[in-house]
Structures are given as structure tokens and as C-alpha cells.
């Protein structure tokens, strides 16, 4: 039974992922659709960051917020992504001591 659930979950995940690989060759997008698709990564980043970041420590949303602000500051300084990640992990760690 669990195997059937896993296969079903797999199909429910794979099909939406793979359909664009088949259809994109057949479609020529108008300019505005290209601009829309080019904006998708930035919109997705926004939607994935907030409000999800507030749940890092579920009962203390401000900790996620502070970690995020530290990440923004480090990224703004031009640090490599990996250092941004480590810096914010350390921040949250210190706040949860």
C-alpha cells in the first residue's frame, strides 16, 4: 500500500515537472510571455522566502526574520552564497541558545 502511495506521489510530482520539456519546443511565445517567464524566478524566490522564513523557529518568527536580515546584509556586501548561508545559520544558532 505504501509503495502505491509512493508511486502515486512520484507521478503527481513528475508529470507537472516534465510536461514543459515536451511542449516548449512546439510553442513560440510572444514577447510578453517571455518577459513573464523571465520574471518567474524572481517571483518564485519572493514567494518561497516570505512568509516561509518566519517558520524557521515556529514559535519565534522574529528569529527567522533576523536571520533573513543578516542574509540580506551579507549578500549585499557581495559575499558568496555559501558564506551568506553559513552566516545566517550562525545567527539563528546564537539566537536559539
Amino acid at each position: 500500500m505504501i509503495i502505491a502511495i509512493i508511486i502515486g506521489m512520484s507521478l503527481a510530482t513528475m508529470i507537472p515537472r516534465v510536461i514543459p520539456a515536451f511542449i516548449v519546443d512546439k510553442l513560440q511565445f510572444r514577447d510578453w510571455i517571455n518577459r513573464w517567464l523571465n520574471a518567474i524566478p524572481f517571483a518564485a524566490l519572493g514567494a518561497l522566502i516570505f512568509p516561509g522564513i518566519l517558520t524557521v523557529v515556529p514559535d519565534k518568527p522574529y528569529i527567522g526574520l533576523v536571520g533573513g536580515i543578516v542574509a540580506i546584509a551579507l549578500a549585499y556586501l557581495g559575499l558568496n552564497v555559501i558564506l551568506v548561508v553559513i552566516g545566517s545559520i550562525v545567527t539563528v544558532f546564537l539566537f536559539t541558545m
Binding site: 507537472p16 518567474i40 517571483a43 518561497l48 549585499y76 558568496n80 548561508v85 552566516g87
Partner: protein, 244 residues
Amino acid sequence: MGTNIAEKRKTSPSMQMVQRGMAVGFPIMLGYLPIALTYGVLAKQAGLTLTELTLMSVMVFAGASQFMGANMIAVGAGAFEIIVATFVLNFRHFVMSLSFMNHLRDIGRNWKVPLSLGLTDETFAVSALHTKEAKEEKGILFYTALILTAYIAWVLGSLLGGLLGEVIPEQLSQSMGIALYAMFIGLLVPSVKKELRVGLIAIIAMLINVICSQFMSEGWAIVLGTVLGGLSGVFLLKGEKETS
């Protein structure tokens, strides 16, 4: 890793692309490991065998829905219900895949299909902000290496979690929960510095997500935030600014 130092001087374009892909995939790996370990522990507690929980990571490769699936199995939810919930939560990958595949038009379908299957929030975010590799020689290996780095971390992490239980102290694992958010921020900020309007698109998407999540499930709220937030790009982005 670290085995190619001697080769580094005479690296072929292929090898170089693989190395670059692994380098940008590394933050994803760091973010995935603690989550995958936690998933492994939770899925074991939910009653999945080690084979089943690892198989789920191999076949589904989508963090949030695997947590949800394991939880729903634990409370005895029906298969249909679990599968529909998975579809809703992961439908955003359709939009992301469409955006990513639009950049890979020139690449054959034999590559597109496996790459699209490896698309998660994180592999998409990193790939989508590294678009210039798509036009370089052997660029496809860059995306393959990036996705495989993330995939291997996810599958091995799940297996280890199921095998060893909670190996990372709780406080550290909780702190590492910010890793992927920080990575998203680390990807977004440099783009915003270059082009402020990009930040506006992200903020619009955040607000739509916040508003929508009052009325609907997290999955749909993220889909709408992404789709409608992206629509603002039609007006905010200038044509042919960074692609095609």
C-alpha cells in the same frame, strides 16, 4: 570532491562545467542534508521501512510533499488524498519548469526530460539565476552536476536519517533550517543590486503569497504568488533584457 586538484590546470570544458555545477550546488547540499535527515527520522517514525522512505526520496524528490506524505501516512490518510495533496503542493514546479525549459530551447529533449525531473524549488532557483551557462559549450553538464549534487544529498540524507536517527543536535538542525531561505536571499540580492525592478517583482510575489495563504493551502498560495508576481514582470522587465 578534491580529487581533481592535479587536473585543474588542464581541465576540459566538460570537467570545468561539472565543477562549476557542483560548486553552485553545494549550498543546496548544505541546506538539504539536515532536512533530509529529519525527513528520514520522521518517515521512520511514521511507519515507513528504510527501503520505502529512501525510495520516496528517489522517486519523488520534493521535500515539503515528502514530509506531508509521511505525516499523512502516519495518521492513516487515504492514498488518493495523499496523492492529490502532493499534486497541489508541487504544482508550482510546472510553472518553474516552463520558465527553465524556455531557456533550454536549444538543448535536445534527451537532456530536457531528465533535467526537468530534477527540478525542485532550490535547483530551479539556482539554475534560473545562472542562465548564461545554457549558451556555453557543454553548459548542460553544469545543470546536470548542479541537480545531481542536490539529488544525491537528498537521497543519502534521507537514508542516513532513517538509518541513524537524529544525528544532528536539535538546535543545530533547527538553525540549519534557515539555510535554504538564506540561499534564496543570497541568489536574489545580487540580481536586485543590478536591477531594482527585480526586487519589486519579488516583493509583489511575497505580498500575493501572504494574502493568498489566508484563503488557501500553502501550495496554491505559492503558485499564485509566483504566477501573478511574475506577471508584474511583463510590465517591469524590459524585453530581451537577459535572454532569448
